[in-house]
């Protein structure tokens, strides 16, 4: 988060300062990519489209840093939905392993998450949750959005968002609390 300097940074970016825009980009892009990799297979392309739209609407944007992040993630979700529709119209036949087959198992991810606490392993563990729970947890924790902003983005009520987030966190805790022997036998796929 940029914090108190956000207003000046945004004003400079609106005025055409590329360094200020780069600061905005670097502040949000990691969270954006982590979120998009959960909901869109072509996360990098969707992120590029998202930033193009942000650049186009930057002059008209009014708000604080939290509003900016909510606006950007709203755009990203819309672009991801568009991308999914586009892919649905052009179904591709996998030549080798499917994406689900290439995903690491939950036990692997849980081990890595607990041992090394690597970002990638934790994200993979979150990705093993039901789709709405994983998306809500990422928007709340990784993107840093409030419950009402997440509710607006995903089209649910704030109460439903809170319940889904709590369920997801409990499941995550249950996955990491499994005994090693039991965890070794679990190889469920990614559920969305």
């Amino acid at each position: 988060m940029i914090g108190a300097a956000f207003r000046d940074t945004l004003a400079d970016a609106k005025a055409g300062d590329e360094a200020a825009f780069t600061r905005l980009f670097r502040d949000v892009q990691p969270a954006l990519l982590r979120y998009l990799r959960l909901i869109a297979p072509d996360a990098d392309d969707v992120a590029g489209d998202t930033w193009l739209q942000v650049v186009g609407g930057l002059e008209r944007f009014r708000g604080e840093e939290q509003d900016f992040r909510a606006w950007l993630f709203t755009i990203a979700r819309h672009r991801a939905v568009d991308s999914g529709r586009s892919r649905a119209r052009r179904p591709a036949i996998p030549l080798e392993m499917t994406e689900a087959e290439q995903q690491p198992t939950i036990s692997d991810a849980a081990d890595q998450a607990l041992e090394a606490v690597s970002t990638r392993a934790v994200l993979e563990l979150i990705a093993s949750l039901p789709g709405d729970q994983a998306e809500i947890i990422l928007l709340r924790v990784v993107a840093g959005l409030e419950a009402r902003e997440v509710a607006r983005i995903v089209g649910k009520s704030p109460g439903a968002v809170r319940v889904a987030a709590h369920r997801g966190l409990r499941k995550l805790a249950g996955l990491t609390a499994l005994p090693d022997a039991e965890r070794a036998g679990t190889r469920p796929g990614v559920t969305h």
Partner: protein
């Protein structure tokens, strides 16, 4: 898939007791020291998920900066941009296109009006103005579309009696009934009856007695019907290229083309 844990507080039914702690996790606030150990593990995992950028997390920075520069530069979009990017960047500056669209609309309207003027499709007063200013053909009085003459046996004039008089004086008569619209004819040139040449001077035979205006057409002496009068000038003077809108029934002679007569007042 394993079910979620019932709660982080052993011995307590349900998971509602952990909700404040879960909210703290979601808001990335530090947990109290007495929180259950699984929650602390979870807090470490979530902190890692929201950790600093790793390799690959800033992918696309060059493309985004390039889009930002293109947005700022007046040169527009380069051909190296992706197709979707070109589409969005070119579709964006709607404010700059507004004057262009307005200018195109005005040009199209002007061109259409000029075309209609040269085709003679404008209403007579406007066609007359176009004739004077841009050399369009003079207004064509379509007699076939003239209004029907009201035949009345009353001594009232056969013109549109219900219409205001002031309004009628401003109109070019649609129906060639000079007697019914005699008050209009004092403004317009009259033509010498029976002469082989046209004149713009009032003709004695056609001049109406101002003190005794022409009688209203009656049933016993009807004026030519609109249909007949529409055919009259053209058929009775086939040698003329252009004819005056005034009929020859009252002894008026159509004006041949090229005759230098004053223009009709349109207002």
């Amino acid at each position: 898939m394993h079910d979620e844990m019932p709660g982080f507080f052993p011995g307590r039914p349900g998971g509602e007791h952990d909700e404040p702690l879960l909210d703290m996790l979601l808001e990335r606030r530090p947990l109290p020291p007495g929180a259950p150990p699984p929650l602390h593990d979870l807090a470490r995992m979530l902190a890692a998920a929201a950790g600093p950028a790793e390799s690959g997390d800033l992918a696309g920075e060059d493309a985004a900066r390039a889009a930002f520069r293109r947005r700022r530069s007046p040169a527009g979009v380069s051909h190296a941009a992706p197709r979707s990017a070109r589409h969005r960047l070119t579709a964006r500056p709607a404010r700059g296109r507004l004057p262009l669209a307005a200018a195109l609309a005005v040009a199209a309207a002007g061109l259409g009006s000029a075309t209609a003027a040269y085709a003679g499709a404008l209403p007579s007063p406007i066609q007359h103005i176009a004739h004077e200013y841009i050399g369009a053909p003079p207004p064509h009085y379509d007699l076939s579309q003239s209004r029907p003459v009201i035949i009345s046996s009353s001594p009232v004039r056969a013109s549109r009696t219900s219409a205001p008089r002031a309004r009628q004086t401003r109109r070019v008569p649609a129906s060639p009934t000079p007697l019914g619209n005699s008050h209009l004819h004092s403004k317009y040139p009259r033509y010498t009856p029976g002469s082989s040449f046209a004149s713009c001077q009032p003709a004695p035979a056609a001049t109406q007695n101002q003190g005794h205006p022409a009688p209203t057409p009656s049933a016993s002496h009807p004026r030519p019907s609109p249909g007949a009068s529409s055919l009259g000038p053209h058929q009775s003077h086939p040698g003329h290229d252009r004819v005056s809108p005034w009929p020859s029934a009252s002894g008026w002679t159509p004006v041949p083309a090229g005759t230098d007569c004053p223009a009709l007042p349109v207002k």
